[in-house]
Symmetry: C2
Subunit: 339 residues, 2 copies
DNA sequence: CCTCTCCATGCAAACGTGTGCATTATCAGT
DNA sequence: ACTGATAATGCACACGTTTGCATGGAGAGG
């Protein structure tokens, strides 16, 4: 059923029906109501393709999301982030196409595809980095987009909207918590590869110590994949070190849980002998004991901010105010490190 | 950039360009190559809306997914199911719009919306049940769809394609494993509400016992929300019962993990004193000890089958063979119940 | 009663593709 | 050289909307 058929039923021209459905002020309330009622009755919906061709609007938002690897923090943390995003977008009456930066089979950029095919009205970028090519396409196309969660690495584009958490502050809070709990010999477990997210956490972690007059340096930082295994294996393989430390900042909860499980197996008291602070506040923390003290990633805040901003950009024709926010994370004191 | 502009650059009519891009046999290889090269050079992509209007094809697949509740099995199991689906669809060069059956804000059917607005070429349904209204729309529209994971409840439509796991068999395997491990007094923890999925597991669980001449009945079945808490609390609140049972079939891994954690706290030896078998085989099983013996949901198989089938239906113009499969799950013997 | 406004509706073009049909070019067979 | 077949390309319309403009009708003011 098309708008013309509906118009025939209503005894109106299809343009009048179109305007009615789009709540145009040109149409009298009376006919507007009549059209809406008929549309309801016949279960009529406007064809999205035709609409999109005319209006250049698709009613869908593209979400570029990293590939989620099982067994790492990704599934737990990014999975919940993705759900939050989906629900927020749904609430705003948009559909979402969630995809990864590059199609694994063709090796082609999904960002480019979504933009050039005009499949989406805007993009939410949840990615660590962005090719030069993709940056160019974003810039040239002028499509609205907001970067969230990861620090925006887009280079030259200064008017980009982004919102991400303050990882320095998170690292600082974690170390501070350990210090306040009485720890004096800290180590941290983090991800290698110079990832901004983790480097910042380490910087904050060091800063909290030096600020208090403690010596702190790279010899306290250990690198591995931020999953359960690295945490568990690290403890098992560094048992001789455990006498000389009293606090561990594991820069991902998944990691911290592995650490704690290993400590438990070695009959080392978590919190009393060695305090542990994690990062992320993932749901499954709930299942492990002692309950993990951790840094809560303010995901509700930045997904909310990013979605609303993107939709504002899509809806308003003029340039909107640029938002570039860095959100403070919170310390959640539970059982693995108590002040 | 439109196809006409590209045609002008190529010195051709836009129809020739169109045919070239769609690899029509009408066009000589020479010009075809030339056009493809130009398209590459100018980063040209066909406009999806215009294309969709003409061809009635959108290149995107709709996935109707239940709302994922945190802290229950949903996040773990359905989350990984969703990822598997996304990747399979991506491999086939389709985009996916993942959404829930009903928009929580408007209360309107998303199935209807996606179909009537012609936003998708086909649907993957991962839902327990389907309104009469949605059933009608699926039937009338003739849109290709495949139901997966949940038993198809669509009522009258007998030619529906579906694929779901054999829950009876899963329940049977779980109980059989407990019995083979020497258990004679079993209970099961399951979800209330007469959900087919769980009822079948209970039926299989009972059948495995009666087949071996054991008396088994509803007094062995306990109901609660299949999360960690129900498992944990159930054990804590039924300590007096624990002497008289030696095997527990928890019908969701999340649930089984709660049970095991409680048993550990009560210093009851898992496997030796009370054996535990779960259901799902979720990723986080890996983090808990003793390692959980469980039923593996054959998700890789049925997502693969469902996706390929749906795309076959979308691509072929004629009626395709109907598939209605029930997939056998596997028993994974780990540590919480060993034969 | 006539003209001028204003309000509501109709008309027709346009968006970017795909495709049936017409047209032109090429080539083989006589 | 002419005809006919075949291959390659161009032309024009259609898909279902939205929207600028034209049109018609009602009411107000003179």
């Amino acid at each position: 059923m098309t708008i013309k058929e509906l118009a025939k039923i209503a005894g109106l021209n299809h343009s009048t029906v179109s305007r009615s459905l789009n709540d145009s002020p040109l149409i009298s309330d009376e006919t507007k109501q009549r059209v809406l009622k008929l549309a309801e009755e016949y279960n009529f919906e406007l064809n999205a393709s035709a609409r999109g061709m005319r209006t250049k609007k698709t009613g869908t938002i593209g979400v570029i999301f990293p590939v989620i690897r099982d067994r790492y923090r990704d599934m737990q943390y990014l999975g919940s982030l993705m759900n939050t995003l989906r629900y927020t977008i749904e609430e705003e009456q948009y559909d979402s196409i969630i995809t990864m930066p590059v199609n694994p089979k063709t090796g082609k950029s999904n960002i480019r595809k979504l933009i050039q095919q005009h499949k989406v009205d805007g993009l939410l970028l949840v990615i660590k980095e962005l090719d030069k090519e993709d940056q160019d396409i974003l810039g040239e196309s002028g499509i609205p987009f907001v970067s969230l969660h990861f620090k925006w690495q887009g280079g030259y584009q200064e008017d980009t909207n982004y919102v991400y958490p303050d990882n320095f502050r998170g690292g600082y809070l974690a170390a501070e918590c350990l210090l306040k709990a009485g720890c004096r010999n800290l180590i941290t477990l983090t991800e290698p590869g110079g990832l901004y997210e983790f480097e910042e956490r380490s910087r904050g972690y060091l800063a909290a110590q030096t600020e208090r007059g403690l010596t702190a340096g790279s010899e306290q930082i250990f690198y591995g994949e931020t999953g359960f295994d690295f945490g568990y294996n690290f403890i098992m393989e560094h048992q001789s070190m455990l006498n000389s430390i009293d606090g561990i900042f594991a820069q991902a909860d998944m990691n911290a849980i592995g650490v704690i499980e290993a400590l438990k197996e070695l009959d080392i008291r978590v919190s009393e002998d060695i305090a542990v602070v994690g990062y992320d506040d993932i749901d499954i923390d709930y299942f492990f004991k002692p309950r993990l003290t951790t840094i809560h990633q303010p995901r509700e805040q930045y997904t909310e901010i990013a979605c609303r901003k993107l939709i504002e950009m899509i809806d308003s024709k003029e340039q909107t105010e640029i938002i570039q926010k860095v959100i403070e994370p919170d310390l959640l004191i539970r059982e693995s490190c108590v002040i």
